[in-house]
Symmetry: D2
Subunit: 296 residues, 4 copies
């Protein structure tokens, strides 16, 4: 069993830390919200007041925070993780951030004798709660093997995809597929409906053959009801596509359709729908056709 500092106990980090507690690990949590910390204590963990206190004696430090600057601040700040942990500590960053930042952090960590993994996840709140996340890991073989038992407590699909930063790029690739599938469903559904197909029957057909996909399975109802509470937010998804496009630039890979769909997410943001579920791409196709998909 490990002693694990878990920094960031939000919608994702909270249930992930809980699973570690339940698996028998000693988990010390840290979050700016006292309620969240209290919830972990209730679940059997303990709460810390500072990074220094949280990481003291930990052999693993896990973090799950929103974006690149947050990770940089938590790890590299004057009073941050790197300043207080012992050499040999395993640092696992579950956040979805820019791969170049990840690589830089891994290098700085290595210089201090730390072992850093990037391990962004896919599956959202239900995945975190039900321990069915996909976890995409970048970093060294040995470090991955050391962390694997922890990953398997939280996720269903755990894949070591490559060296430092590879987890982040593959997470971005995952988001490419999700975005384009949403757009595909949106174009098909509006056209099929406008041509006289009952929308729920179009959804039924698309779910039955080679067009079948998880987006339609999970979000089919959203497309029909236009109830766009997230789920995955437009603004976060666009952040991820920005990471994908920057990676495409760095690695010389053309991403023509990703580039186009990224612009469409931008239109959603400009229209004030950044907080809607990403399936709201549908609304752009509807508004561009002066027609709406209605549930029959």
């Amino acid at each position: 069993m490990s002693t694990i500092a878990f920094i960031g106990l939000g919608i994702m980090g909270g249930p992930m830390a809980d699973h570690l507690v339940r698996a028998g690990h000693s988990v010390v949590g840290l979050d700016h919200s006292p309620e969240r910390a209290a919830r972990l204590v209730e679940a059997g963990g303990t709460a810390a007041d500072s990074i220094e206190q949280a990481v003291k004696g930990a052999d693993v430090v896990a973090i799950m925070v929103p974006d690149s600057p947050d990770v940089q601040s938590v790890l590299l700040g004057d009073d941050g993780v790197f300043a207080h942990v012992q050499p040999g500590t395993l640092v696992i960053d579950f956040s979805s951030i820019r791969p170049d930042v990840t690589k830089e952090l891994a290098q700085i960590g290595a210089e201090r004798g730390l072992r850093v993994l990037d391990a962004p996840v896919s599956g959202g709140e239900p995945g975190a709660k039900n321990a069915t996340l996909s976890i995409m890991v970048g970093g060294g073989d040995e470090d991955f093997e050391r962390a694997r038992p922890l990953f398997e407590v939280m996720g269903e699909t755990v894949v070591h995809v490559g060296g430092a930063g590879a987890g982040q790029v593959v997470k971005a690739c995952n988001q490419i597929v999700v975005a384009l599938v949403i757009e595909a469903v949106a174009e098909a559904l509006v056209l099929g409906s406008k041509a006289g197909g009952a929308p729920h029957r179009v959804v039924e057909v698309l779910s039955g053959g080679l067009a079948a996909n998880k987006v339609l399975e999970v979000k089919g109802e959203k497309f029909l009801s236009h109830e766009f509470t997230p789920g995955g937010k437009v603004a976060y998804h666009r952040k991820d596509l920005g990471i994908a496009l920057a990676a495409g630039r760095e690695y010389g890979v053309p991403l023509p359709v990703t580039a186009l769909v990224d612009q469409m997410f931008g239109v959603l943001e400009a229209k004030g729908r950044g907080d809607w579920d990403h399936s709201a791409l549908l609304t752009l196709i509807e508004e561009g056709s002066d027609s709406a998909v209605h549930k029959a």
Copy 2:
């Protein structure tokens, strides 16, 4: 039990007719290839030498041929189906053709007292063989109900989507989703691989979360091995996207990403890959990035 004339006994029509025979119907087949007709006879059907002979006494006429002009010729030709059938006959066109042609045929049929359904299918050769096709039906309610027992012998997902032509448009919608999912996987897989992910692991990850889709399940191996024997051919898929784009024009629905991916299929055709499997969209992304996805 019905007496069914089945015209067009190719890769798709052959096994579909077989299923009807096995279900106890009396099936009279017609095909320009004597081998195909012989196969149906072996399976328990009979073979005709002309449309006139095939449809004589049939209460249902089914056709499965490649494209719009073929259907027009079989149905409207001087010696075609419409010239020889009795009023009240049910005519089911399983071919994937232009919805405007379908609507015109339905109208001409109605004037002669015939009942015409468009019923394009999705699922390919395996779907036809295993009777797991998706069948998208356009036409009248009563006619659909009359045909439903036959459809259920051949398909798993049978959906009456709307009036005449609606089956064709929904088939085109299905092809929109398939095309865009292929492109999504291609962009994601090349980027993930070039950034250091082992391709088969990238496929594994993409198959595990919200990005999961049937294309990856069925064609994951093709993407990794670059073995592009069809399956669904580039040229046929482009024909279908052309139908989708024409329908978008007619119904006033914007299809920006479909329009772009259609152009990419056009590039594949220009490069002489019209007969490759449609997953060959991958090769365009690879060639645009001067990199290849290799199976580890």
Copy 3:
């Protein structure tokens, strides 16, 4: 001097016929509007009541009508041009129509001993009035040389681009460039303005270097004032892009950006702006950014 039947005396055809009269030719006009015919008579021409009457004794027949079916009806109708003219007559079609229709008409004409040229024009109403049109001619060398003196009376740039239909394709190419330049100006102008540039100064800068173009010169004021009375209508321009995309399909040429901008014109149509000037592409970028370009 020639005897010329001129069919279609609208916004374009009217002034074009006038120029022929002024150059000394004997022009017999035909139009369904008596006012238009009267105007030609005032200018020195004569008016006919039927195609038969118009073409009697003509050595040249010119037509300028809206779309493919109009041309087909005028030329091929039971009482149409081809039914009444003498072999050897030169038939010049100034309309912008589908190249496949043009080619078919040229072939039918050739079978009857006629000489048919396609000669679509660019330059709009001012070009027609000021005899500064660009005329793109498809057809045989000899026929072009015979028609050249007439073209030079109406246009400034007269180019024999290729065989039958080539004029139509090149006209479509012209429309590709115009559409993409409009979109380019729209994206640049909204971005520059939103980033703090005064719109009229952004226009001034864009007009000064390698970005300079005729669209900005002619329509710069429209972009700034949002006064979108046509000029070139969205709906006509989309018809032309449809011709271009069909030609791209036929000849195997990828037109990725044309395909995308065509979809954007479709959105304008769906929003009820089909009758606006094509520079209204600007409104889509503005609405997608929740910002407007205002004249300072």
Copy 4:
């Protein structure tokens, strides 16, 4: 007359400094290449060995270097411009760099009592040599008026577009238009040629009406001869489009076609054509159509 330090005497900066000398100003040049410095001395300027020496006594400091990091190093380095100039000095940055960097530099400069203008130029080597540049200026009114006489010595179109950074964004807008016009010409020219038009005649037609543009005027010959020595390099143009897309993200402006053409420039880079003239977009359309435009 002013005393001007000019840092960066390359293809652009060299002739620009010469014009200032010729106009009677006292110009002290600095470049890492002794040959370039010598050329300025020949022209009547003087050469410095360090930034400190160059800016001593200068009331204006001009810089023209390749990219954001170069500007940051020259201005903010320990031994850089800001460390050595007197408060009140006018600093003019002619480089094309990221607007956020420009804004940051303007702010740091303001804190030290300096007056900073961004003044990127368009028009290339011929524009620099012939003093026909377009100069797009961001910064304060008063500072612009002070610099205007210098700008007018070097450029033909001098426009004060807005506050700090606005010059950079408008330069990026200029590059949007240039890129999209190149793509427009490429699509039109390949289609027109493949459909049977002689390429040079297609160019002639496109140059004659609403499609007319400076790109075709300046680079028409390159398109026909496939002689792609730059001119404007693909790699630099892509850098500029990256700036435009980042600005679109920041200001919430959709740039769908720019995003797509940017990906196409990326393909050119991946194919090893980053050093070719940007008109080489033509080669992508040709290769996608398996056809080439040849000069007749």
